[in-house]
Amino acid sequence: MATVTYDAASRIYPGSTKPAVDALNLDIEDGEFLVLVGPSGCGKSTSLRMLAGLEDVDRGAILIDGKDVSNLPPKARDIAMVFQNYALYPHMTVFDNMAFALKLRKTPKSEIERRVKEAAALLNLQEYLDRKPKALSGGQRQRVAMGRAIVREPQVFLMDEPLSNLDAKLRVQTRSQIAALQARLGTTTVYVTHDQTEALTMGHRVAVLKDGLLQQVDTPRNMYDKPANVFVAGFIGSPAMNIKTVKLGDNGAVLGGLAVPLTREAVAKAGEGADGKVTVGFRPEDVQLVGEGDGGLSMTVDLVEELGSDAYVYGRADLDGAEEQFVIRTDGRHTPNMGDTVYLKPQSTPHIFNAATGERIDG
């Protein structure tokens, strides 16, 4: 049980001038499940490896339970890690894989036996304890990797995309198992993924990174409802939010033939350095299809994706002379046909961002 603090921690790889992780500030509470998410190359794995002690901290510091561990080797940090490709010891049985760390700590034999058996029971691995990793399926190997971390009873769990090698169904299943396990053990967990669904479903809080810079840390709900900038707005949510940069009028944004009214303060903030433009975003589900005369934005339908309960409608609309792509969610039982013209109207106030900085504007 411990807190984890990144204090302006940076990592600059040798031979590169640009930091892979740039002055990361992050406070993770005791028992929290924090998910680091971002596109590939955003520095999320590097951040995790810095915490593990597998990468140097070039500037700043990392603290576990208030103690600076920046210069300690991995074994002195009391952390356990689950690797993306599991990294099991191929020549050891499942039992020995899990017991290895305990043996190194000179844990009494009976204690090792007890803890491994417990973890095996928790992960449904009892009957595989005598097998070698090569005789296991991908899902079983993943559980052994989890077990190896659990038996350690460490201060912090680190997980580096542990589900990315599983098939889709198993991934969803294991996702909920890991979340339940973490809730039960109550161990502080830092989890890295590139999958925003995983991030939203598993994390108590989610941290979005891009190009080594922290974009936003928040609960999944807030992350979805109030993205801090255009990048987070586009990254979180599937299909992605419709984000368009349009003309800024005196009373609000002008989305083709559709006016989006904004408060005076919002207009002022949006206008700062933005050259008369504003960025408007609305999620696919926040759009209503209206009749022809109801003042909606007209869109030609290109593609309809039927998902049973819902359908996603992809199409093009004319915005100030440029054709722009839009996606909206509709009732799966009443879908327009390809080539139809439909009329869109945002149901709620759209997300507004400064067109120059990409920062969110509230109001």
């Binding site: 002690g53 074994k75 690797f83 191929p90 020549h91």
Partner: protein, 297 residues
Amino acid sequence: MTQTAVTEPTGTPPSAGVKHRGVGDRSLTFDVIAHVLLILWSLLVVLPLLWVFVSSFKTTQEVLGSPLTLPHHLNLNNYATAWNDSGVGPAFINSVIVVGFSLVIVMVLGAMCSYVLARFRFFGNRFIYYLMLAGLTFPVFLAIVPLFSILKNFGLLNTLAGLVVTYVAFALPFTVFFLHAFFKRLPYDVYEAAQVDGAGEWRTFFQVMLPMARPGLASVAIFNFLGLWNQFLLPTVLKPDNSVLTQAMAQFQSQAGYAVDFGALFAAVVITVAPVLVVYIIFQRQLRGSVVAGAVK
């Protein structure tokens, strides 16, 4: 391939059928030729060995009189003669001692050296590696005279220990060269997992990395064993009193002149060859398959 040629359905277009049958015929011919060659090759290798083994139970008269028949009665006199009277016995034991010690030392040193060169970045890494490779290109007979002087100065000339040291130096470059490539390919994640689990560098090497390198170690061990077991030049110069097996064999053969005891000679050959076969059988299981299977993904 032969199967598809035979069961070719008649309904296929003629052009496709002809083309396919052509391929099938060619591969059938190829298969036949390949198998005939392989069988011939196997016979070439196995038959002399078998003949030597059978002949080692015969008397000289039998060997010369009826070379292709089985021995009249099974007797082990030839082995006793070869072992006791011709000096093959003590030489065999010396060979086992020298090659055994050399092999253990060269494998331990070679594995450690190649592991460090393959996986740690430090100043001079490349330089040491290329120095090792240079040792590989250096013909050993060019170093014979200086080697003689060096061992003499150390007081190791004509001792088994001196031979062991020389064998180790002789076999190390290839061992490092081969294992370097092997250690480079081992997954880094497993190393990191061991670090996080709390293993130090030594323990990681001996308990995690070394077991994963087992197929590579086995291949090099076999190669080194063969090379050192059959070594003749080095012992002739550095241990001149005929005390390892190759020397004893050479002497046995040459001193007999026209009165060769062929039965005993063949027995001595069997004694020489047997350990090689035993070592190969022990290690060849390790060669098959990859030990790393199941480590990652």
